[in-house]
Symmetry: C2
Subunit: 383 residues, 2 copies
């Protein structure tokens, strides 16, 4: 029987309570830090622009010299210097006369515009001044941020390390993908690949271990050997059968927080703590494993990795009614078509073809008994 | 003066009309094809499951033998075989009796459940049958799709090549990031890095060329040397000044479709075609370059690369009024806080610090004169 049966939301919260944001940091060249999370505040060591910069093509002039200039009453200047956009304005001058407002008359410049001081000049430090706070700890660096760091001449940054996730697939019937032809009753181990690709997408460094047979001692060894991981994902052996060792092992090696979740699909899920690290046990059925990855592993990795990446989602109208079991959280695969979400009602947590046809899933919360046709729902898009 | 001044939406459509979905394909191991776009339909070479598979732990039995079994009227079976979930059901049997409905009495099995044929059995081909269509050409492979391909024993797939984008930064005042300290009037070339990181994020293979000085011949050479690219991005020299060579060069080497766009920021943008390939010329001001990347380069790369990646966005209420110039498309940077979008009204296309503080941008369309405080807007999140 399930030993720690609980609701899906409660199970997720228990897991998250035991996930701590990573403290380990590393130093990276700024130009390679895109997508990483700053572990330090960034203060600008320089001013940007670093000099009074022409904001237009034209002529550097002294603003006082242009006093009184108007379209039909030009003023003539003997003291000026041509400048191009982006160039420093020489120290003697304090404004830039636009090409359009200027006429060269021999060596004399005619202006029809009266300029105030610093007209058409980007002043030193206008964008960022030396000592100004630019980014806070926890900021996720995007391409323009990395560009800005380079502009500020910050060539190294401190970022949090990526969380280290170890994936341990279990099951005597499993064979490593493509390693040899399958015999009767065997299957390729595909959940480990799926979990690794998602963990990497969600910001982790993921390592897929070799398949462990249904052997209590060997599963235990695999967990012990990876106690330096920030999260362990065990796949298979999570239900209530004789050879479903994972929950029992968690109980003995640490603490079993959850065994059995009111989640469809994904009921035979277990969550525990070993040596202070979260261990998430996914069912071997691929669709159930996928739901667990989204419901448990994604938020856990976000928390450990200091991330808050937006979940890609769209709104859509439900094309058909979705029934669901009250008290259970249901993740219902849907295909999007013309702004409508068509539920893919194939039951069976083993049916990967249903995912192939799905664009995402709709979450039906515990207190609901399904959703009605025509309701507007949020569809979480499979990444 | 701008030579082909036009509206932002019209400019984008002109560019997209000249972008053709890539025809070049490559073959990849399926396990490495995550994120890539299929250039072939996928038909399953096998059935999944490949055999009648037990869906429960229990006993393989003949359903006919269970006739009449009820909770208080058990039936006794001499012909059965223990099976575990996922195992093949031996050929003699056509149903699986769940552990919970069974009792072993010595060598006799007692059942309190009458089973119909194939009860608790996943039938051969139930998920996918041999010859069934699984994915269509154009499908973007996600982690569960790659897992499914492996389960179907498809170890190689044909995908479209990634679009090849060449980025040519121009400007005599520019210095490669970190290559040497800057002299007065110089700046590090940061737009090329930003463009490369975005192009890669949007599915391209991007190559950043060395900085080309403001020299007509050298810019021309750089374009000619990269005529095998699927898109060329030129940065800088796109306005109407004396040394803004890019538009003139496009006109001479091919066709200048757009020069000057009713876009804020991003007015000095040019789009052209050289040797049948789209060339997008971004202004040197980094915020304007960023807006152009989102407005022009992203959709163009999506079309060339057969992609339709959802733009990450959220809804929010505008915290303050946004003014905008009618007839112009405006991309206004906003910071998100407590469900509100706070416009960052610093003008100046050079102000990268405004992007550092922004979570995304709001698009104000051409026909509007700004947006009111309290309006619900879509915020495109900077990726």
């Amino acid at each position: 029987m399930f030993k720690r049966f609980c609701g899906a939301t409660a199970a997720k919260e228990m897991l998250l309570d035991h996930c701590l944001p990573l403290k380990r940091i590393e130093s990276l060249p700024s130009v390679l830090a895109e997508g990483r999370i700053l572990s330090q505040d960034i203060v600008s060591p320089v001013s940007l622009p670093g000099f009074d910069r022409a904001a237009m093509d034209g002529f550097a002039v002294r603003s006082a010299d242009t006093l009184g200039a108007r379209p039909h009453a030009p003023v003539f200047l003997g003291n000026f210097q041509p400048v191009r956009t982006g160039m420093p304005v020489p120290g003697d001058y304090d404004a830039v006369l636009m090409q359009e407002d200027a006429n060269m008359r021999g060596s004399i410049l005619e202006t029809t515009a009266q300029l105030h001081a610093y007209k058409n000049i980007s002043r030193i430090g206008e964008d960022i001044s030396q000592g100004e706070a630019v980014f806070c700890e926890g900021h996720a660096l995007r391409p323009p941020d990395v560009a800005l760091l380079s502009a500020l001449r910050i060539d190294q940054v401190q970022v949090y390390e990526k969380p280290k996730v170890v994936i341990i697939p279990t099951g005597g019937e499993l064979v490593a993908i493509g390693s040899r032809p399958l015999c009767a009753g065997e299957a390729y181990e595909i959940n480990g690949l799926m979990a690794r690709l998602y963990a990497e997408k969600w910001g982790a460094l993921a390592e897929q271990m070799v398949i462990v047979p249904d052997d209590e001692g060997l599963i235990r060894e695999a967990i012990s050997a990876n106690s330096n991981a920030d999260m362990i994902i065990i796949i298979g052996g999570t239900s209530v059968g004789e050879k479903d060792y994972a929950p029992k092992i968690l109980m003995e090696m640490g603490e079993l927080l959850v065994h059995g979740v009111r989640l469809q699909p994904g009921k035979p899920t277990a969550v525990g703590i070993v040596a202070g690290r979260p261990v998430v046990c996914l069912p071997g059925y691929p669709v159930a494993a996928l739901c667990d990855l989204y419901l448990f592993v994604r938020p856990a990795l976000q928390k450990i990795g200091h991330r808050s990446d937006a979940e890609p989602k769209v709104s859509a109208k439900l094309a058909r009614k979705i029934p669901s079991r009250p008290g259970y959280l249901s993740l219902v695969r849907v295909a999007l078509k013309d702004g409508e979400a068509e539920p893919i009602m194939i039951s069976g947590a083993g049916i990967l073809s249903s995912v192939a046809r799905a664009d995402g899933f709709v979450v039906v919360s515990e207190e609901k008994e399904g959703l009605e046709a025509g309701e507007t729902v949020e569809v979480m898009l499979f990444e």
